[in-house]
């Protein structure tokens, strides 16, 4: 554990560069930026039947998608995917390889750095984003709205249907939990892909994310059960309150599991264990040398 923490501290110090700090701010700022856009520019059709809970549900799902899903994924990708390739490319691998269990400590230490980096950026991001989305912004029903939607401005519509999230504490807690789980799971996934396919780590991780997590993960078929997205999404719907209309629409039957929260977390932790085990076995079994081709 001492050696893993040594790698963790060393790598954390090493990534404290202006370039990495910029990306940390980008990852943290992305959900805030999207929430600002949504609250300021989305014109909600003020019609009868649309409730504040509908709006809140929409904002919560959107926040989940930009923060624990996309931002956290990006954060983990930036740190975990090139973890092995960068050591091999700069020929620093060998110094770690000739230490007792050096590669084991390297992989786990770098994994912890990726989790910390991605989770910290996303947690800061979701907290700011929730505050932005919860800010009180009364909407006005204009004459044009009345004409276009055939409604009359009433106190109920004017006051209640505002962009934002109702239960900020619930959403904040859920998003923080999901961000941490997402950082753990995606960092392990990218660490595995980056180790097994170290020569094209970034490209492969992006392709895998697009094809499996973002495409197959939303397929209402058995295949989506084997994605991290499916488990995180299920937890989102477990931990937050949705509108009646959304619940009754039957969408959840296709995009989320009806198993317990504990089961979802066990699934995610199992993925983490499997991904890291594959990465660790890979560095133990394969021959990685930093020698260049001419350096026989």
């Amino acid at each position: 554990m001492n050696s893993i923490m040594a790698v963790f501290r060393f790598e954390l110090k090493r990534i404290m560069t202006p370039g990495r700090a910029f990306w940390w701010i980008v990852v943290a700022g992305f959900p805030v930026f999207i929430m600002l856009l949504m609250t300021n520019y989305i014109q909600l059709p003020p019609r009868a039947g649309i409730t504040q809970q509908n709006v809140s549900t929409m904002f919560t799902i959107a926040l989940y998608f930009v923060a624990p899903a996309i931002s956290c994924m990006l954060g983990a990708l930036l740190i975990a995917a090139p973890a092995v390739a960068s050591e091999l490319e700069q020929h620093s691998w060998v110094y770690l390889a000739v230490r007792p269990n050096g590669l084991f400590h390297l992989i786990l230490g770098k994994y912890l750095v990726a989790v910390f980096w991605a989770a910290s950026a996303t947690v800061v991001g979701v907290n700011l984003a929730v505050s932005v989305a919860a800010a009180d912004r009364p909407t006005e029903v204009t004459a044009a709205d009345e004409q276009r939607h055939g409604i009359t401005a009433t106190d109920e519509i004017t006051q209640k249907v505002v962009p934002g999230i109702i239960d900020t504490n619930e959403v904040r807690l859920a998003m923080v939990g999901l961000s941490i789980l997402s950082a753990c799971a995606y960092s392990a996934l990218y660490m595995m892909l980056g180790t097994v396919f170290n020569r094209r780590a970034m490209v492969l991780c992006v392709a895998y994310t697009a094809a499996v997590e973002l495409f197959l993960g939303f397929f209402p078929a058995v295949i989506n059960r084997f994605t991290i997205q499916y488990r995180l999404r299920t937890l989102l719907f477990e931990w937050t309150t949705q509108s009646e209309q959304f619940r009754e629409s039957g969408v959840l039957d296709f995009v989320a599991s009806d198993e317990t929260t504990f089961t979802q977390i066990m699934w995610l932790m199992s993925w983490v264990a499997v991904f890291l085990a594959i990465a660790l076995v890979s560095v133990q079994v394969r021959e990685f040398t930093s020698a260049s081709e001419t350096d026989v």
């Binding site: 110090k13 020929h91 620093s92 390889a97 000739v98 007792p100 021959e287 001419t294 350096d295 026989v296």
Partner: protein, 322 residues
Amino acid sequence: MTVSMVSDYLIELNHVTKLYGTVIGVNDFDAQLKPGAYGLLGPNGCGKSTLLNLLTGQLVPTHGTVRVLGQSPRNNSGLMKKIGYCPGFEGLYATTTGLDWVTLLLQLQGVRLRPARERAADCLAVVGMSHDMKRPISTYSRGMRQRTKLAQAIAHEPTLLFLDEPFSGLDPIGRAEMTDVLNDWIGLGNSLIIASHVLHEIEALTDSFLLICGGRLLASGTAGEVNELLFDSPSEIEVDCSEPYRLASAMMEKELAVSISVEHKSHGDDTVRVRTLRAGQLWMQLPDLINGHGFTVTRVRSADDSLQTLFNSLLKIHRGEI
């Protein structure tokens, strides 16, 4: 897995072959070395680095077995505590300080943070880096980086040290200082395997050589034994003489040369280039030949002083062509 096994040998290589696809890195290498200091001598691309990668467990032999201190080096954490490795390439983190880097590598040997930092500072001082160890490595000169690499290799007090071209990039003073550090280290009873393509670098540290070329062990022994082996090997010699054609004729008469060419120079004496199959014989008879005929010779030198020629000769001896 750590295999506890007592062995008299420092290193045992039993018919080790390493193939990279169809390219041979090391070819049927067989050697047993007792504890001590050894120079691994060979031209660039001869398999030195592959051999060191095999000895440090980073590569697995395609055929044969490798044992270091009686144990297989592959994934052997117990053995890794006893060996130090200084690779030929740099591979240092630019933004990190030398002190932080050596401290990390000591911590990976199981040393706690505070003692690791103290020990790292001591080792960096030993290699002459005490004033610069808190600067980022990106600001180091090539020589400073070499010293820092050596510091990480000896910091955990291994009993066996592998060095791959450790003098590369060092100025003469740096070479002398590093030679002193390594001689002191050997003097403590530790073992050393140093790979280089420069003979005199190794000679300053040890008299025991392993000469490899094309992935093969061509010869081993002391410098004297290797010289003896090469005494009657083919060679090319240049002689600057005022009467080149007469000298050439005299050499042919004595059957000392297989081919001779004369190179005319605009200034000074012309050069006679002599190819011989028995260099030792030529070197012994040349003074008498010059004196007997009264030639004026201004310079005699070996035209093929490169290590590659020496290894080509050894390769022919190895194949039984000479």
